[in-house]
């Protein structure tokens, strides 16, 4: 079955991203297709590669990046939410003259249409949030 995932909270503060990750991993292991993981609201913070969490804790961002690498997942950060919250890719870095870019490997910034499309294309949409 084709599944869409929506993640509405950032890493660490709420468990939403953890739950979404474990759900996604289990779905992939069972042979389901993950059409897209869409990160909205504070969820876009899951895509920042500026995090350096303690060694004895999970690395939420890296874990998503690795899962994307292994399974070719499409991890999309909402552009409007990203602009409000400080997620910047190389294009945005140039346009706004920032000192760097902080979108982690496997994530891309795109529009809300990608969420609607996930709703249309996937057989189920599962929303994780607060």
């Amino acid at each position: 079955m084709k599944l869409g995932i929506m993640v509405n909270e950032g890493p660490y503060t709420h468990q939403a991203s953890d739950s979404a990750y474990h759900f996604t991993k289990a779905a992939l292991a069972k042979g389901h297709e993950i059409y897209r993981v869409f990160f909205y609201h504070d969820g876009v913070q899951n895509g920042t590669d500026f995090t350096t969490p303690p060694q004895d804790d999970r690395n939420v961002v890296k874990r998503w990046s690795e899962l994307a690498g292994e399974h070719g997942l499409d991890l999309v950060l909402c552009v409007a939410a990203a602009q409000r919250r400080g997620l910047v890719d190389e294009d945005e870095q140039k346009r706004h003259g920032k000192t760097g870019h902080n979108v982690a490997p496997g994530f891309r910034i795109s529009g809300l249409g990608q969420l609607i499309e996930a709703g249309i294309q996937a057989d189920r949409l599962v929303v994780f949030g607060d």
Binding site: H41, I116, L125
Partner: protein
């Protein structure tokens, strides 16, 4: 609705008050973008979500943008099925008169103006959820 291809029934459920958190506003942004995709769209306001439609908000004092005028434009986007939990209103001492009057124009009836808002109870809400293909939660 879409001329070609299957449309899906999309329901946006809003259960949070405006301004205290951004969910109301960012939900509306999804609805506006989603309108271009010509699906069969409904909005449901439950719990504190009913506060989103209260009229005459003055946000100058808190320094935030008042986004609620946008609700009145939904009819122009063919988003005209707006359901409001009547028990949530009652619990909060609100009536329909406290809310914005949202309308749309029916092109099949010579652009007659019709109400977009429908008051619903628990059974109707349960049926509404049941018949959806996709539910977005805010």
């Amino acid at each position: 609705m879409s001329e070609a291809g299957a449309t899906k029934k999309f329901l946006y459920i809003n259960r949070k008050a405006p301004y205290g958190t951004i969910y109301a506003w960012e939900s509306l942004e999804v609805v506006l973008i989603g309108a271009a995709f010509e699906q069969d769209v409904s909005l449901l306001f439950m719990d504190d979500g009913v506060y989103q439609l209260v009229k005459e908000m003055q946000t100058k004092g808190i320094g935030m943008k008042n986004f609620t005028a946008t609700y009145a434009a939904l009819g122009d986007y063919e988003v005209n099925k707006i359901y409001i939990d009547k028990d949530a209103l009652t619990e909060r001492g609100l009536t329909l008169d406290d809310l914005q009057h949202l309308v749309w124009e029916d092109e099949n009836e010579d652009w007659a103006e019709k109400d977009s808002i429908h008051l619903v109870g628990r059974d109707e809400i349960a049926d509404l959820l049941d018949e959806q293909d996709v539910i977005f939660n805010f």
